[in-house]
Symmetry: D2
Subunit: 134 residues, 4 copies
């Protein structure tokens, strides 16, 4: 078990959410953020970098948005539900948009295949959490 | 003129947005992010910290969301307009929600008064930019 | 295997570092960042919040510094080794300082115990990576 | 006056630092972070992107490190001086390294000229603050 998961069980407040679902989402967000940052850098290293500009940009936006969504969720105590839900919704769009972009290059670049999978997994985790919020 | 404003005029791409409007929004976001972080810390220093928990949390969420929105806008070239618009919309909600929370304490805490103003200014800048996007 | 770990094996460049060591460090940093953010929020929820101010602040600094160190490492291709090494060194100090602070409250607050462990694990991972860099 | 500067004068604690010097540094950091992010994106848009890889990477590292340093300073109350000083030192290295990289392209790319200036200004502000810390 990650510290993130163990930690959430010790928080005195409870946002009315299953803490293991919350922990899984935070972990998927962190994994997606790091994966997207590496994918952007891997695209930049390719000979065909000039064809990968849109992919690099969507990787970078997705990385920043996932990292912030993870931070917001890590202090979620139910108070600020409207903001949390909107940030989750934006993050789902960012993940879906980045996955689509990476899927278009997945046959040529293994890093885009891995990144698309991380984005789809994160998109799914965020959608599940959003559905479970009171 | 800030480097942010000068820089945006040199970018080879153009997102179809007035660069001075874009620069003003990024500057308002950065100013709001730092102001919210300091407000959270100032609240934490108050004797009445126990009454300021919701304020601290909305400051922190607003700071993180503004900082990420600034990053996303600083690389905005028109490609990723759907994600940019959603992130701006989420940021408007975060600023408005934090302003409302801080306004409730503005009579007792000068830092909450200053923070509420920064949030309202940022909310307005984001709304204006959102309205100007193609 | 996380996407972060799989992704690093697909990067066309190689920073001259074992990719599994790099992946483990990024994962420890992300886990520590989220854990520290939750610990700060859990401290804020405690009745004794007024006694936990220094702990909250070191949690927040550690969270921000770990998150940035993870980003910098996720695009590490060997080019920028001086900056990477200094950021890792700063991160080791932040983790060690936060661990020390949380250890002082570990008997009273389970979240501080969990957080101290995450910080020590992250400190160790960063030190190991730093030692392995060319 | 920015909200950041006004805000710092209202903080109940005092880190033993001149608040206007602290505010100027935070503003220089935010301006440098956004400028570097835009410079990386502008480099990515150039026909000669393949020659600008190292520049893009140092822009991105500098942006992330400046943004985090701004956050850490915005909650600086003197408690955590060792971490703050190390983070400032790392940030000075990141700014200096990015300035050097951008200066090498300043004759060909106006965005690199503007970015180099922002990095040098930020480097100087951080060094001045570091020198003034107790």
């Amino acid at each position: 078990m990650s510290s993130t998961a163990e930690m959430l069980t010790t928080h005195p407040n409870n946002a009315g959410v299953d803490t293991s679902l919350l922990a899984e989402t935070i972990e998927a967000l962190n994994d997606c953020a790091s994966t997207c940052t590496t994918c952007a850098d891997a695209c930049l290293s390719e000979d065909s970098v000039a064809d990968l500009r849109a992919c690099i940009r969507s990787d970078q936006d997705c990385a920043d948005i996932c990292a912030t969504t993870a931070q917001v969720l890590a202090r979620f105590t139910g108070d600020n539900a409207v903001v949390v839900k909107q940030q989750l919704t934006t993050c789902i769009t960012a993940c879906s948009s980045c996955a689509e972009e990476c899927e278009a290059h997945a046959d040529h670049h293994e890093h885009c295949r891995v990144c698309a999978e991380a984005c789809r997994r994160c998109e799914k985790a965020c959608a599940e959490l959003l559905g479970a919020l009171p």
